[in-house]
């Protein structure tokens, strides 16, 4: 079963992250890399992606005069997607376990960041052309 593990943040949160020390960034990355490697070895890893900063995000709502109607979006407090993992696991509990590992990845001063991870099942699609 495929699950998507979504990590969201806010402008304030991202600002804080950008102020982490190099050591803290490195430790955090090392743990995420280790998790990815373990998932690859176990065959559960499908993909992970990070998204570019919300400064560049746009919401598009249809066309007006042939041009997309765009809007830059995020009010200070609004949550937006930072990135995600897709894992292929046997049970939802395993997906929660993996999410918890990501949660405890260290942040400033080695304390777990405790970023909440939203876990959603991915709908399997019938084979199409």
């Amino acid at each position: 079963m495929k699950y998507i593990l979504l990590m969201a943040g806010t402008q304030a949160g991202v600002k804080t992250y950008r102020a982490w020390s190099k050591n803290d960034i490195d430790s955090h990355m090392a743990v995420l890399r280790r998790i990815n490697k373990e998932l690859t070895d176990s065959g559960e890893f499908v993909i992970t992606e990070g998204l570019a900063g919300p400064d560049q995000a746009r919401v598009v709502r249809g066309l007006k005069d042939g041009l997309p109607v765009t809007d830059g979006i995020f009010p200070e407090s609004k949550e937006f997607l930072l990135g995600y993992w897709i894992v292929d696991v046997k049970t939802p509990e395993r997906a929660y376990e993996i999410a918890a590992q990501i949660c405890v990845a260290p942040g400033p001063d080695g304390r777990p960041t405790n970023m909440p991870i939203e876990v959603r099942q991915i709908m399997s699609r019938p084979a199409t052309s």
Binding site: I4, L5, L6, E49, G50, L51, A52, P54, Q56, A57, R58, V59, V60, R61, G62, L63, P68, V69, T70, I73, E79, L81, G83, I86, P92, E93, Y96, E97, A99, A100, Q101, C103, V104, P112, N114, P116, I117, E118, V119, R120, Q121, I122, M123, R125, T128, S129
Partner: protein
């Protein structure tokens, strides 16, 4: 450049979706299929996924011993990711044009929605030379 096109919807929106007529649902699904097909024909398609209902969504935090602590309670206002496309295009403008087509997905009663599509660049693992 890779972009993600995301459809987000509040729980209220999802609940309303559950009350659509069969015809409206079919039209919406048909639109989504045709749209993905179009992306493939253009040679820009990378991926697409539909996500499960928010009723099944869980927020996971780690407990004291690292064990997962799950919770199904979300604020009323929260927007849930319903699905996304990832496309590989030459420019952000091309991504917005494609998103504009996605946002024309038909809604209830045969209306043509202007469903908001959030467009974000997907970070690449590569850095260019800057020459």
């Amino acid at each position: 450049m890779k972009y993600i096109l995301m459809m987000n919807a509040s729980k209220a929106h999802w609940d309303a979706y559950a009350t659509w007529s069969k015809d409206d649902l079919d039209a919406n699904v048909a639109f989504m299929r045709a749209f993905s097909k179009e992306l493939k024909e253009q040679g820009v398609f990378v991926a697409t996924e539909g996500l499960g209902w928010p009723q099944q969504a869980k927020i996971v935090r780690a407990g004291k011993d690292g064990e997962p602590v799950t919770d199904g309670i979300f604020p009323e206002s929260k927007e849930f990711l319903a699905g996304y496309w990832i496309i590989d295009v030459e420019s952000p403008e091309q991504a917005y044009r494609i998103a504009a087509r996605a946002s024309a997905a038909p809604g209830p009663g045969g209306t043509h929605g202007s469903m908001p599509i959030e467009v974000r660049q997907v970070l690449s693992g590569f850095a260019d030379l800057g020459i």
